[in-house]
Amino acid sequence: MLRVRFHGRGGQGIKTASQVLGTAAFLSGFQAQDFPLYGAERRGAPIVAFTRIDKEPILERGPVAFPDLILVGDETLLEDSQAAPACGADALTTLLVNSTKAPNSLKDKLNLLTMPVTCGLTKLCLKHLNAGMILSTALAAAAARLTGLIPLNHLLEAVEIELAEFSPEQLQKNLDLVREVFELLNPVVFQEREEAGLFPSKLMALEQQEVRDAAPLITATGNMNLRKTGNWRIHRPEIDYEECNHCMICYARCPEGVIKEDAEGKPEIDYDHCKGCMICAQECPKHAIKTLWEMDYEHQSQ
């Protein structure tokens, strides 16, 4: 069985990527299963989706813990400990990153056992779709090509099926994009994983706890701070302190309460928790809050 895991952000088409790959595998004569994992998240939050491909009926469900192929649509997730896209990667895993960086620099940085594949999908998406953040078909094409199991015609048919509600023009743009990505990459040889023997779980009989520990009760305050939502950002607000007149309207309008007043009375953004909704930038009467692409910012700061 080939187990594929896609990482990206809500709104980037990660779920659709897994579904295009699933349909393409199915059309190519394989058993296929695809599954996205999301719940309370919103646009920008880290998302995962999975596709399983096999000749035999697939007797697995749920997330893939040990993927053969990982595709990371958004490289800002690479060092995110919550998204942890390299989690479960071993010597048999191939990792593709949507990046223009050199593969060996990523290999060292992420402590990978195998050399990752990098491919600048964002540029190709911009070229064909005029949108750099919609990665569904590009990621699906990359995955399909790397598996070496799916011929181009089945992949194109899968795109037509999954994007059936698109206008003919939009569909054609996606088909062109898929063709280019498919031709850009080469198949990887995947080794079948050896099945480990089963060993019994160490089941335990829980003892009854006092009700304060037995009910889902939270009495410690301020622990929302532990949930870092800064990695949900696609856009990054940046205050131009030359322009800012400290009116603090951004502070008042921030729905997340992540702008505070610093010692000098200036607004200060807590980037660990700012989700990048950009309401502050909209509200700023002096237009002193700039909107940056988080991805560009990461590049600049390195």
Partner: protein, 407 residues
């Protein structure tokens, strides 16, 4: 109100429930009326309005908010009572699951009434059985006295630090809720000595102590932990019930066990029943014995936690058992039948035959003759359950109705 010399007075089941709440000194009653429960909340509202009860009575906009209000108030550390029935229970179902998970104690009364469709107002147990898996403790009453006593005992059990789960006391609509019979009303001081003011075993909502309940948890592991704790707490309620029953008997002279055994010791044929129709079952047992049938009856007072060991001990070695369910799970049969069979599973002294019988749906009477029919079915090696207590007279009556209803 004056209490007469014998401390007994004629009370309906509904009034007995209200008296239980009154003697428990309830401080908050969120209410929504529904037939046949209305008399309970009507009585309590009068007592609050007249100053007999100190606290707050609130008419809610639905059972959904009513149960939520009951749980929320209990989470602030006050003693809460509420009551509902039938469609109201179903409408509040989401809240029932929610507040039992909060692990806050209160007592609610359900006045059993069959569920739509077709619509009925009369008793059967599909409503209370729908709350079977909510995480409530369930005590089912046969008499008006049991109702009052179970409400008082219910607070003691619900508020026990190892339980901290709401208790539901069930009575049959109409035949018990509207029936008056003599009920001993304990004096207020004895009731207070038995049931002192509510001392929450956990932190309660206060302005100075912010807290979150009903937290969202993901991944299943944390969820499973809390669900196991809920299971342990509800199971613990059987022990707590037995301890409470001893204390209650010492003080008031009436002793209750999770099960009541009626002429069981030498019984060869046993009827398993609950609620008010168990009275009819007892009468049938006495009449069958006169006809030479060694009959007995096992009444189940506590459905949650399910006292499976006690049930198995009561039924072991009996030749024939009929489980009479006043409820129906279409496509399966009686709801409590599998629980009783499961309690006997794997025991070598298991009865030769355990038959599922369904009767008393939507207020339909269970006649004493029906019990002899059940004995015949038990003696017939070919008979299989579920056996419906539906006879030729019922069929003739239906045909009359059908003539009116159909062109």
């Amino acid at each position: 109100m004056n209490i007469n010399r014998s401390n007994k007075r004629m009370l309906t089941g509904n009034k007995a429930a209200a008296w239980g709440a009154r003697l428990a000194g309830v401080e908050y009653v969120p209410a929504f009326p529904i037939t046949p429960q209305t008399e309970i909340v009507e009585t309590l509202s009068q007592w609050f309005a007249g100053g007999t009860l100190k606290g707050k009575f609130t008419n809610m906009d639905s059972e959904h908010s009513m149960f939520m209000a009951a749980g929320s108030a209990a989470a602030t550390g006050v003693r809460v009572f509420t009551a509902s029935s039938s469609q109201g229970i179903l409408y509040g179902m989401e809240s029932l699951y929610t507040v039992t998970g909060w692990r806050v104690p209160f007592v609610m009364v359900n006045v059993s009434r069959g569920l739509a469709t077709p619509i009925t107002l009369e008793a059967d147990h599909n409503d209370v059985m729908s709350t079977r898996d909510c995480g409530l403790i369930q005590l089912h009453a046969e008499t008006c006295q049991e109702i009052l006593d179970f409400v008082l005992m219910g607070y003691k059990i619900a508020e026990h630090p190892l339980v901290s789960v709401p208790v539901l006391v069930n009575m049959d609509g109409f035949v018990l809720s509207f029936s008056r019979e003599p009920v001993v009303i304990p004096d207020e001081k004895s009731a207070r000595d038995f049931l002192p003011a509510f001392q929450p075993a956990q932190p309660v909502f206060q302005a100075s102590l912010p807290m979150a309940r009903a937290s969202a948890v993901f991944g299943g592991g944390t969820y499973t932990y809390f669900r196991i704790q809920q299971d342990l707490a509800v199971r613990q309620a059987e022990t707590v019930f037995n301890e409470t029953a001893v204390e209650f008997a010492d003080r008031f002279g009436r002793h209750y066990e999770p099960l009541e055994r009626f002429h069981l010791d030498d019984a060869e044929v046993v009827f398993v029943m609950s609620n008010s129709f168990a009275t009819k079952g007892k009468s049938a047992v006495l009449r069958l014995r006169k006809q030479g049938v060694k009959a007995g009856l096992l009444k189940i007072r506590m459905f949650r936690p399910f006292p499976d060991e006690a049930v198995a001990n009561a039924l072991k070695g009996r030749a024939k058992v009929a489980v009479i369910d006043q409820n129906l799970a279409p496509g399966m049969g009686g709801i409590t039948y599998p629980e009783i069979v499961a309690a006997m599973y794997g025991r070598d002294d298991c009865p030769q035959k355990i038959l599922s019988v369904i009767g008393g749906l939507g207020g339909k009477d269970i006649k004493e003759n029906d019990f002899l029919s059940i004995v015949e079915k038990l003696n017939d090696p070919e008979s299989k359950g579920p056996v419906f207590l539906y006879d030729e007279g019922d069929w003739k009556q239906f045909q009359q109705m059908q003539k009116i209803a159909q062109l």
